[in-house]
């Protein structure tokens, strides 16, 4: 047996600490993909056991039951039974249960036991069980279940050593099919009565926190305060890092510029590649800081409470409390936000959330907002405490949220579904997040950007530079060189569409790469206004000289609502398997953005 690789499957209820255990076992050697044909996340990894044998681990989606209707649970069941096409039959099932919540989790263990495949039970969170005075007779439990039972503490170093040992020495044997009685709940009660002493059904610490977190008034205040602090932190921590990255790339551009010979190649590298990379990498810190806090709140168990507090409000606009978490992620980027909608069980709620997620102000919009606000909104105090520039940014955020509520509400009115939409959401025990789980989560989400960056962004930056440079101006040129380039021709054509919004041809042109990735609009404007390298103050004064305040406001509103970016539309296609949803998203956002920008331009022009 030893020598050959061993396939094991981790399975268990949601919130049993399964993913933390998976992280402990496999470390950073993880791969996240989808199961063939469905949008169910497939996490796999591997480790080398002390005996030298390779163990391949697949972390199955959490499930409450195997007979159920959700795609997650269907995948889990099929993989466990070895009937999922293309998936290896697991040699050993490691069922994970929270030792403090056996009343719920043992039922699922018994259900998996019924399949009759080789199996061990990992009794997780033994530290929390000990703290609460819960005593478990592991020997007796193992006897009653007819499988090895191993204690684990997934969040402690070495907390899975016993499990690794058990997996390593396992000589998996099938358990025999029909030993589990029909009434699983009765069997669980009987097993618990014989093997577990539980002083209190709930954790006093949970009770105390929930008295505040779930309170009708205090709970709302706590949520508002938490969100306020998170967004403050995003700017307080993210901004210095962003500035440092921009400075770094600026300096790098200078060094490389001196080293390269004068000519098109130098322009491409310094103005195109390095400036573009600097802009994109520049907002990575803000994304990561926001995701850090989301992961912190998620791992601690608070986010489902926030979803509970907000449920009524979200339902009234046509969403669900569960929409809260994906929409919060969308403030960093709509892509992980839309992927996060998989946790919304109701398909209609999920589609509505996907539809409005791109309206949340993602961090890619910030470089554009920062540029326009810096150039057109005076740095002036309002009412003593507020700053006019900060207020403008705040208004853009609010505009996005208000539009999302409006669109969801309209979608609810149009949608004719009379089907009941269930919430049914577990509020897990509070726990201190573990750095490893946060770090891996952050890496997983950060990697989405780095992938996007390396492909689409770089190619686009180079392409934009090329169409701005070629063909060159004729010898008897009377206008600026860029007017003769491909970029100039395209910009002038597009202007027919966008002139009613107050956009000149340079802005119209910048909307093309912005469709691939919003933030590149800044780099494009820098290129067409020929201010080169760094896009700071020089570009702002160039813009202020060339476009009116009304046009600038109109452009900001455009960026708040416009159908962008390409990657978002691609992810909508992937997650919904429907081109109709893509067309719907693009269509409504284009109409919304066009109408709002038109009104902004006319009203601002009329007031001026």
């Amino acid at each position: 047996m030893s020598g050959a690789a061993l396939n094991i499957a981790l399975v268990g209820n949601p919130n049993c600490g399964k993913t933390a255990l998976f992280n402990q076992l496999t470390g950073a050697r993880q791969k996240v993909a989808n199961y063939a044909g469905v949008t169910v996340e497939r996490k796999s990894g591997s480790f080398t056991a002390p005996s030298g044998r390779t163990v391949r681990v697949v972390d199955l989606p959490g499930a409450y039951s195997l007979k159920s209707v959700s795609p997650d649970e269907r995948v889990t069941q099929a993989v466990l039974q070895g009937s999922y096409p293309g998936e290896a039959v697991p040699d050993l099932i490691v069922c994970v249960a929270d030792a403090t919540n056996l009343r719920l989790h043992l039922r699922f263990v018994l259900e998996v036991r019924r399949i009759g495949r080789p199996m061990v039970l990992a009794l997780n969170m033994m530290d929390a069980a000990a703290r609460r005075g819960i005593r478990i007779d592991v020997q007796a439990l193992s006897q009653r279940l007819g499988m090895p039972v191993i204690e684990t503490i997934a969040v402690r170093r070495g907390g899975a050593a016993a499990l690794v040992g058990a997996i390593d020495t396992a000589e998996p044997a099938a358990l025999g099919v029909s030993t589990v009685p029909a009434d699983l709940h009765a069997e669980v009660r009987s097993i618990l009565a014989d093997t577990v002493v539980m002083p209190a059904p709930t954790d006093r610490r949970d009770d105390a926190i929930d008295r505040v977190a779930l309170h009708p008034v205090l709970g709302v205040l706590l949520l508002a305060l938490t969100m306020f602090l998170v967004f403050q932190a995003v700017y307080a921590l993210g901004k210095p890092m962003t500035d440092a990255i921009a400075d770094g790339f600026g300096a790098l551009g200078g060094v490389v510029g001196e080293w390269l010979p004068e000519g098109p190649l130098r322009g491409l590298v310094t103005d195109g590649l390095l400036a573009g990379l600097g802009t994109v990498l520049g907002f990575l810190p803000q994304i990561l800081v926001l995701f850090f806090f989301i992961l912190l709140l998620e791992e601690s168990g608070y986010l489902p409470r926030a979803a509970f507090v907000l449920d009524k409000l979200m339902v009234s606009v046509g969403l669900s409390g569960r929409s809260f978490i994906p929409l919060l992620s969308s403030f960093a980027c709509a892509i992980p936000g839309i992927m996060g909608t998989r946790s919304i069980t109701d398909p209609r709620d999920r589609l509505a959330t996907i539809l409005v997620a791109p309206l949340m102000t993602c961090s890619a919009r910030l470089p554009v907002y920062a540029l326009l606000i810096g150039a057109f909104i005076p740095h002036r105090a309002v009412l003593g405490v507020f700053n006019l520039q900060g207020l403008a940014l705040f208004c853009l955020y609010v505009a996005g949220i208000a539009a999302a509520m409006f669109v969801a509400w309209v979608a609810k009115r149009i949608g004719r579904s009379r089907q009941e939409r269930a919430l049914l959401m577990e509020l897990p025990s509070y726990r201190l997040p573990h750095w490893r789980d946060i770090a891996l989560g952050l890496w997983e989400r950060g990697a989405i950007f780095l992938k996007r960056l390396t492909g689409v962004m770089l190619a686009l930056t180079v392409l934009m530079w090329a169409i701005c440079t070629f063909p060159g101006a004729p010898a008897d040129a009377t206008r600026a060189a860029i007017d003769y380039s491909f970029a100039g021709m395209i910009g002038h054509t597009l202007q027919y569409v966008f002139a009613p919004l107050g956009f000149n041809w340079q802005i119209s042109l910048s909307l093309i790469p912005a469709f691939a990735a919003r933030e590149t609009a800044v780099a494009t404007l820098a290129t067409v206004y020929a201010v080169g390298g760094e896009e700071g103050a020089a570009l702002q004064s160039a813009l202020a000289a060339h476009i009116s305040l009304a046009s600038a406001l109109s452009l900001m509103v455009w960026f708040a609502f416009a159908p962008q970016c390409m990657s978002t539309l691609a992810i909508i296609r992937r997650e919904t398997q429907s081109w109709r949803m893509v067309a719907l998203s693009f269509g409504y956002m284009f109409v919304l953005a066009y109408a709002a920008s038109f009104l902004t331009y006319r009203i601002a022009g009329w007031l001026a």
Partner: protein
């Protein structure tokens, strides 16, 4: 008595979960989660803006349920309502 009629913080015992229509997936899920005959249950919290949804303690787990879902859970009346 139904779970939706139970006052916050009062202990009760589940009698059964009633199907609202044939193949009621919500009812089946509630039973899977432990809403079965003889199980102690308690409402821990009610949401702002009209008390919907509610947080219910069943076994050692807490679930947020909308009132439409909680409506299916029938409670024992005989010896159920103790402090």
């Amino acid at each position: 008595m139904r779970l939706t009629e139970l006052a916050k913080g009062v202990a009760a015992i589940v009698d059964h979960v009633a199907d609202q229509h044939t193949a009621d997936a919500v009812a089946a899920r509630l039973r899977d989660l432990g809403f079965v005959h003889g199980e102690p249950v308690r409402i821990v919290a009610t949401a702002p803006w009209g008390g919907d949804p509610i947080v219910v303690q069943i076994g050692s787990t807490r679930f947020a349920l909308r009132r439409a879902e909680a409506q299916r859970v029938n409670l024992q009346t005989a010896h159920g309502v103790a402090a």
